[in-house]
């Protein structure tokens, strides 16, 4: 079809989080502050910013599998969320071409009182599938979870491992062009992990682009061909995966 190939472009992406303290969430405090600073409302008086990403430039095209490394709080997840479209940049631009699937939080949209089928349906709807698309895929998904008759039972009756299976199946129902992952999310017991690995690999193969944040060097070597390091919200250059050691040492 005439669709342009998948791509991700970030230019000078800067993201700041305003921190509204627990106290600042009370109206009284805000009113008091307005009075205290003499009515300078436009100044965002007293709101502290945390700069989570600063001047990140990133250019990915179809076939790129980017690994993100960095310490806790270095901005990996923030970058993934920004790429998913949830966070708006304060400066710079993000442009993503292609259908995005963000596998950041498997429990997204999982309702413990609803049945497995209902949860798959809901999650699929959130991910952008139409009801018909979900119906078409339901059998395959149901078989994949291996939960059989339990799918008609409320999720709260599931064990943690079963819940993980369901969540994984539901979250990976979408065939995306851009796949965002916070840690490699293969879950469940040994058998299921094998299945999950296979399914993820298939998704990655189909998706034009993968962005994977992980601390597991071996995983990154396995699945990525490029790597970028974040340090306090500042990004390194994107380098070939073979230079991973260099990047980690830097």
């Amino acid at each position: 079809m005439s669709q342009p190939p998948a791509s991700i472009t970030c230019t000078d992406l800067t993201l700041r989080f305003p921190v509204y303290g627990v106290d600042a969430k009370s109206l009284k405090k805000a009113l008091a502050r307005v009075v205290a600073v003499g009515g300078q409302l436009g100044r965002h008086a007293g709101v502290t910013d945390v700069t989570a990403l600063q001047g990140v430039n990133l250019q990915l095209k179809a076939g790129d599998r980017l690994g993100l490394i960095g310490h806790n709080g270095s901005g990996k997840t923030t970058l993934l969320r920004a790429l998913s479209g949830a966070y708006e940049p304060d400066e710079g631009t993000i442009e993503v071409q292609g259908r995005i699937a963000a596998l950041l939080d498997l429990s997204l949209g999982i309702d413990a009182t609803a049945t497995g089928y209902e949860n798959i349906r809901l999650r699929g709807r959130i991910a952008g599938l139409s009801s018909r698309e979900i119906d078409e895929r339901m059998d395959e998904l149901a078989a994949f979870t291996g939960l059989g008759p339990f799918l008609a039972m409320p999720v709260k009756t599931y064990s943690a491992g079963m819940q993980a299976r369901l969540a994984f199946a539901a979250a990976t129902a979408v065939e995306a062009d851009v796949l965002l992952m916070d840690e490699w999310i293969a879950v469940g017991d040994a058998d299921f992990q094998k299945l999950a690995h296979k399914r993820l690999l298939k998704l990655v193969e189909r998706a034009g682009i993968l962005v994977l944040a992980s601390h597991e060097v071996s995983l990154l070597r396995l699945y990525c061909n490029k790597v970028m390091r974040l340090e306090g919200g500042v990004a390194s250059e994107v380098v070939d995966i073979r230079r991973l050691d260099e990047l980690m040492a830097a």
């Binding site: 669709q3 800067t14 989080f17 305003p18 509204y20 969430k25 009370s26 109206l27 009284k28 805000a30 969320r81 920004a82 998913s84 479209g85 949830a86 966070y87 708006e88 940049p89 304060d90 400066e91 710079g92 631009t93 993000i94 442009e95 993503v96 071409q97 292609g98 259908r99 995005i100 963000a102 950041l104 939080d105 429990s107 997204l108 949209g109 309702d111 009182t113 609803a114 209902e118 349906r121 809901l122 709807r125 959130i126 991910a127 952008g128 139409s130 009801s131 698309e133 409320p154 062009d177």
Partner: protein, 277 residues
């Protein structure tokens, strides 16, 4: 697959672009209106899972309230049940929809925190979700309305088309209040309490339980009460009465001013809402 496959997010580029982005959010929400509906039906389903009557429980409790208040107040005010019960029934049902939409509006964004922080779903989707949920409840309560109107013979004089116009105006107004409450509640956690108190106050200040014509001496209590006009636009035509032109003027003005204001606030805060949560 007709989902949007292109996403562009930019930094702040002045008020005009903010406004355009807000409109784009609105447009996207209409393109995926089915999602809002799915979420709303799921909400209703999960709230009443396992109960036999489901949402009809609120219909039942509302019916009892209508009956109780109707009979007692009809005696107090010396009005015949024939006149008073339908009046109270319609008042409670339709005021309930307004209260529900506005009170639950406070939770609109707070409840959606998980989805908002990792997807690019339009914010308006969640506003419609709250509205649709309350429409589903209204559909259940219509049982009361139909029963009362049929039993007391009002169906002969009722004008459902004009009432439908009234319902549309009511929803148009309730939805902007609901959205405004949602944005404000995301930022300030005191707002839900304030909203609930105000709505509680409003239900007693508005002729829901008491006949409006008993208040002849103090028309201003009615004329300056937006809820009175909202209610009248729906109730009067169903009772076979005419709606005062003033009510329509008030409702249309309120919808225009209210939506403009809410939309301006939304355009300003849109990129911040996810950080409030």
């Amino acid at each position: 697959m007709d989902t949007a496959t292109h996403m562009l997010r930019t930094g702040q580029r002045g008020a005009l672009s903010q406004l355009q982005l807000a409109f784009r959010d609105l447009r996207n929400s209409f393109q995926r209106i089915g999602l809002a509906w799915s979420l709303a039906t799921h909400d209703v389903g999960s709230r009443y899972r396992g109960s036999i009557l489901g949402p009809f429980w609120i219909t039942l409790s509302m019916g009892l309230m209508v009956l109780g208040i109707g009979v007692v107040y009809a005696n107090l005010f010396h009005i015949s049940l024939q006149n008073f019960l339908p009046y109270v029934a319609l008042g409670i049902v339709f005021f309930g929809v307004m209260t529900g939409t506005i009170n639950e509006g406070c939770e609109t964004f707070v409840q959606a925190a998980g989805m908002l922080s990792q997807t690019s779903l339009p914010m308006f989707t969640f506003v419609w979700r709250t509205l649709f949920r309350n429409l589903i409840y209204l559909a259940h309560h219509l049982v009361i309305v139909v029963a009362v109107l049929a039993y007391y013979g009002y169906w002969r004089t009722a004008d459902p088309l004009v009432a439908l116009l009234g319902i549309a105006l009511m929803l148009l107004n309730a939805s902007w209040v609901s959205m405004l409450a949602g944005i404000a509640s995301a930022r300030f956690r005191d707002i839900p309490q304030i909203v609930v108190s105000v709505m509680q106050f409003a239900i007693f200040m508005t002729p829901v339980f008491w006949p409006a014509d008993k208040f002849d001496g103090h028309r201003e209590v009615l004329d300056f009460n937006p809820f009175y006009h909202l209610l009248q636009a729906v109730r009067a035509p169903l009772l076979g009465q005419a709606v005062a032109p003033l009510s329509y003027v008030v409702l249309v003005t309120m919808a225009l001013v209210g939506w403009s204001f809410t939309f301006a606030i939304f355009a300003r805060t849109r990129r911040r809402i996810v950080h409030y949560l």
